[in-house]
Symmetry: C2
Subunit: 230 residues, 2 copies
Amino acid sequence: MLMQTSMSAVAPRPAPERSRTAPARAGIAALVDQMDLMGARMSFTRNAEIYGENEPADYVYKVVSGAVRTYKIFDDGRRQIGGFYFPGEAFGLELGDEHEFSAEAIDNSVILVVKRSALVALADRDPDMARKLWSFTARELQRVQKRMLLLVKSAEERVAYFLLEMAGRLQSAEAVDLPMSRQDIADYLGLTIETVSRTLTQLETKAAIALPKSRHVVLRNPKALNKLDS
Amino acid sequence: MLMQTSMSAVAPRPAPERSRTAPARAGIAALVDQMDLMGARMSFTRNAEIYGENEPADYVYKVVSGAVRTYKIFDDGRRQIGGFYFPGEAFGLELGDEHEFSAEAIDNSVILVVKRSALVALADRDPDMARKLWSFTARELQRVQKRMLLLVKSAEERVAYFLLEMAGRLQSAEAVDLPMSRQDIADYLGLTIETVSRTLTQLETKAAIALPKSRHVVLRNPKALNKLDS
DNA sequence: CGACCATTTGATATGGATCAAGCGATGTGG
DNA sequence: CCACATCGCTTGATCCATATCAAATGGTCG
């Protein structure tokens, strides 16, 4: 069953509140603005499951506040994070009938939920909506491709890339407040927490970043980070 | 300019030849069958460039015969392969205006070429075509996600997965004739040629495969390979 | 037959994993 | 309000899988 175990409160009434999203990043906003018109809000507490791998993919989700991770657990117990999702971003849209990953709230989060069938039906009548669905998947593909390229690089490059990606997506140029743990970062980048931690202190030593608190990263020299990325 | 440097012969006349593709793997066939109706054929010699990274993505391609690799070269000279494409499979469809990867013929190949604008225009009138474009990208996403998961596993697991993937896509259950070099495989899996070679001999020792010729792999014990994958 | 290129095999080096403490912040019960 | 338990993070020591460097072998084509 969908999310009955872990959700903590529901407000099934739509309550529009449109036009809040910046005109920038038009692509993502496109699908997601449409969703505002049709969705129901739900709240999830920290670490609550939003959906599980192989569950029917009947809904599409948008983060209103908080943060979300998708992930897979391997036989050997290791976990790989599929992606992080932040306010304004959508997740959980599948072409097939089942979710490919599980999804959890990283923090207490408010999530907008829309029936996938509603979007797909709309796409049959409206070429613009059809293009939005395609765009969403294409963007997801780009992100995963970029990360695939990353997974063959050094730990330092991976962590530098991660910080820049987060800074970009959390729209914070100077400093980032990371909502996720070191373990989450490690499982995202295919490293161990020890290596992530060591690499961060290493970047601090190089004066590329500062770490006043473990989850508050000041980007002291973004250019140096960028060069590591390439 | 598009492919004028390296193509060796052109046959711009469509020449339909439909309904050759098996009814299986309907998803891929869908977009690709449509393409048969509209495309022009071109021939590429071994290692010829089909398109380059950042070139305008005005065309979509389908392999008629031969094999194709897409790839990126990093600053440090290393190469990562984005994907391999075999007869009946399409590649090069982008949402944005530029190709994200370069594409080369692995072998002498015949490629069907279709204007992207034709497909996109068709999608505006035909929801079915719109869904095909989306499906194509969604399938590509699934493949890359699977490979992303792979890149954090051991060399043995990666090579085992590779062999099974190739066996599946080249529709050969018993044995595979690999069109690509060890270097191609290495750059696909994020390994070195030495590690790929060693891992193959290791699998041979374990009696999981046989290697009568370096590019002809007999899958002696697919279950053992599968267990490695997971 | 000889040259060249792809592949295998061998010896060594190394980046990141693993194993193991220590430390600092946060929260809880007395 | 403080002592202590817990959890997340950092740091240290060692190990190991894969990279790197180097050479031998095999296969292909002129």
